[in-house]
């Protein structure tokens, strides 16, 4: 706001300098205000993109000025005009742009560490952040390499599997995309057939490729099996519908097999290097880390390993779905190897790493992400509003409410509506003026008339440019988005007032400055009174129900008068501290499982949520031979002493006390007959490690592997 206002001041001052005439151009003060305008624009746009509207305002007025200059051939030569033009280009385009980019420069300089928003950025961008950068990796990918494979088009992450089954389709082990580094992202690349030893006998086992005389490169078109070492299963696909996207052209991808199993034909995938997406040179001929982008074609069905921004349900911790698609889009079918390890690629092997995108690469990428994210804020919000309701001050925003007080954002109706009226008056005036101009009434020869049109037009244009673009935005909008426009509208209001009381000759008001003063003062008194009446909402002060209802002129002003007490005395008798907090507990329990053969353990979360900056760790898979039968979630309300509260008690407490959330996980082990087994030491069963921030972060559990 202040930046926009400052720009308005600087530009108005510059216009004054400019209007002193061509002879005074390029004076020091002319330059000063022009540079200040440029700086103001830079600041405004570096704070919020609404600054672009301010730029549009200054830009369009500058074009008008230049147009007039161009027509003034008596005083302005082409040479002088070019000088005017270049000065404005420099100050109003180059300075703001440089300022804007400098701000991002500082931003990158300060924020070197990874944070929550990293997932939005590309891998190249992320690798420039401390601790997210990675060691150089061997460039060549060989048969027998242990690799992690990353999806190119989404930031879903790495091809991942974990010891949990699909509840649908084949009921085989899940394949997902997981955004964090993890042991379960590691795949061992095997050739279609086992290699032969010097006697012509096949070498068995997954380590068969670790010690061959020739380095077994993976050429374009090679047929692979992808072996998931932690679970001894191989990447597998078949004609079964995927769990979420049940389209005919998509097949399920699973992990299938057991330790020692040779696999079957549905494990075969062909590497197809996409040359135009890969780095030129050897990376287009054979599989190379990072530089080669490839597709994995399933031999038996011809479908291509695919992922898209579709989340799996809770049973896969909302990780991203991976399918095998026939005719999926190319970008969503592209993969690359990020980490690569092979016994025959030691320290001496050729290494690669992400290319550093450099400042401009990062800058540009961030702009695009900001744009996309901004456009994506379309969820409706309890207090959002559309632009058409702003000028009439239809509704405010509730910020906070507690202990019978609240803070609610609402404009001062006197000021607000006067400003809107000013805009309406000008529009009516302009309509009339255009009509009369068409009829050649020659109003524009009247200096006051012309100045009125130009000056108020300037402010109203500022209002319009800060207001109408919001109609084009689909994202959630709030009343406070109108503030910059309101600032211009207030300017227009004051200017109209000034013309009416001090500049229009012949109606007797101009000659009487008292009228101007009295008018201004009485308006201010009026708006002060209005402010005083509404101020409990602004400051969160005590108020009474009656007074609140008295000033609530419209039902669309939707603050809640009932939260206030009946009289002010009641506030002083309120207890100074809120009632003791009750603690609802959210716990996950298992029900006794139906009898099955091996003892059953409930592993509530196969993997641990991620703490920023720390490497991701997979929780232990359930001990061999045990499997999760079922899980159950429920919310319990307890008081500070841990006593369970029933529904009525909770209802009675609602609004009076604060609730805090705590997560708790309990595991129950049952044997083959469904009898509960007492776990040794009370809780030796694999309980999920506690969430790093257990309290109050319900929304932040999205990172669970």
């Amino acid at each position: 706001m202040i930046a926009t206002a400052f720009t308005a001041l600087a530009f108005t001052s510059f216009s004054n300098q400019h209007e002193l005439g061509p002879s005074r151009a390029f004076d020091p003060s002319w330059w000063f205000w022009l540079v200040m305008t440029g700086l103001g624009l830079g600041m405004t746009v570096s704070i919020k993109w609404v600054g672009l509207f301010t730029i549009a305002w200054v830009g369009s007025l500058t074009l008008v000025q230049l147009w007039v200059l161009l027509g003034d051939y008596k005083h302005v030569t082409i040479r002088t005009f070019s000088k005017h033009f270049m000065a404005r280009v420099f100050c109003l385009i180059v300075i703001p742009l440089a300022f804007y980019m400098a701000m991002f420069g500082i931003h990158f300089l300060i924020l070197q560490n990874p944070g929550e928003g990293d997932g939005f950025m590309s891998s190249e961008f992320q690798s420039t952040l401390n601790s997210k950068g990675m060691q150089d990796v061997p460039a060549d990918v060989l048969m027998g390499s242990r690799v992690s494979i990353r999806h190119v088009n989404t930031q879903g992450g790495y091809l991942h599997s974990h010891p949990l089954m699909y509840p649908t389709g084949s009921k085989q082990q899940q394949i997902t995309l997981y955004p964090h580094k993890d042991e379960n992202n590691i795949w061992l690349l095997e050739n279609q057939t086992q290699p032969l030893d010097i006697h012509g006998q096949p070498i068995n086992g997954t380590s068969a490729w670790f010690n061959l005389p020739d380095l077994p490169y993976i050429e374009n078109g090679a047929i692979l099996r992808l072996y998931h070492q932690p679970t001894h299963r191989r990447l597998h696909s078949h004609d079964v519908r995927p769990p979420v996207t049940e389209a005919d052209w998509q097949n399920e991808v699973s992990a299938y097999g057991y330790e020692g199993f040779d696999g079957d034909a549905n494990d075969f995938f062909r590497v197809e290097i996409v040359k135009k997406k890969s780095k030129s040179g050897v990376a287009q001929e054979r599989l190379r880390t990072i530089d080669t982008k490839f597709r994995l074609v399933h031999i038996m069905t011809g479908c291509v390993l695919f992922s898209h921004k579709v989340k799996l349900p809770d049973w896969a911790s909302e990780q991203q779905e991976v399918t095998c698609a026939k005719g999926g889009t190319l970008p969503n079918s592209l993969w690359y190897v990020e980490s690569n390890e092979h016994p025959q690629l030691g320290d001496g092997a050729e290494k690669v790493n992400y290319a550093n995108p450099g400042f401009f690469g990062k800058f540009w990428e961030l702009q695009k992400v900001m744009w996309k994210t901004n456009a994506g804020l379309t969820d409706s919000h309890a207090w959002d509003s559309r632009p058409q309701s702003w000028p009439i001050l239809q509704r405010g925003i509730n910020f906070w409410g507690k202990e019978h007080r609240q803070i609610y954002l609402i404009g001062n109706p006197i000021v607000w509506w006067s400003a809107t009226a000013a805009v309406v008056i000008y529009i009516l005036f302009k309509g009339l003026a255009v009509l009369r101009w068409q009829r050649s009434c020659n109003d524009y020869s009247n200096v006051v008339f012309k100045r009125f049109d130009y000056e108020i037009g300037t402010s109203v244009l500022g209002w319009a440019l800060h207001y109408f673009p919001f109609y084009l935005m689909q994202r959630q909008l709030f009343l406070h988005h109108y503030f910059p426009a309101l600032y211009f509208a207030i300017m227009a209001f004051c200017q109209i007032y000034d013309f009416a009381t001090a500049r229009v000759p012949g109606i007797g008001i101009k000659e009487n400055p008292i009228i101007n003063r009295v008018g201004a003062i009485s308006f201010l008194v009026l708006s002060t009174v209005a402010f005083g009446l509404l101020s409990p909402l602004a400051y969160g002060n005590p108020w009474t129900k009656t007074e609140c209802n008295r000033v609530k002129l419209f039902s669309t002003w939707d603050w809640d008068c009932n939260t206030f007490l009946d009289n002010y005395d009641a506030y002083s008798s309120l207890p100074s501290t809120p009632a003791v907090a009750q603690t609802p507990q959210q716990s996950i329990n298992t029900q006794p499982a139906p009898p099955v053969n091996p003892p059953v353990v409930e592993a509530p979360q196969a993997q641990v949520p991620i703490v920023e900056g720390e490497p991701a760790v997979s929780g232990a898979p359930p001990p061999a031979g045990q499997q999760i039968l079922s899980r159950e979630e429920r919310v319990e309300y307890r008081d500070q002493n841990g006593n369970l509260l029933n529904e009525e008690q909770v209802k009675a407490l609602e609004g009076k006390v604060e609730f805090k959330t705590r997560y708790e996980t309990r595991t129950r082990v049952v044997d083959a007959d469904g009898n509960e087994i007492q776990a040794p030491d009370g809780d030796a069963a694999p309980v999920a490690p506690p969430h790093p921030d257990v309290e109050g972060k319900h929304d932040c559990l999205l990172n669970i592997s």
């Binding site: 706001m1 954002l409 600032y487 201010l524």
Partner: protein
Amino acid sequence: MDVHPPLAKLLITLFGWLAGFNGDFDFKEIGKDYLEPGVPYVAMRLFPAICGILLVPTMFLTLKAAGCRTFTAALGAGSIIFGLCDR
């Protein structure tokens, strides 16, 4: 994910740093208790407050620059005081 260019946050950070804010408080929701963790909230709110206050003289000077009378300019400045400062 932050959808705004960085200047505003940089300035807030600068003022937070000047005020001795140590970054331990997450400002996760409106109405969280400032007092107990010792957030220097007065000093930190001072910056946006000063910006808001500066709007008033700026409006006054802008209107003066646009050729309005002093009282008209005062009218505009007053409107900012009582019209916009609900926040």
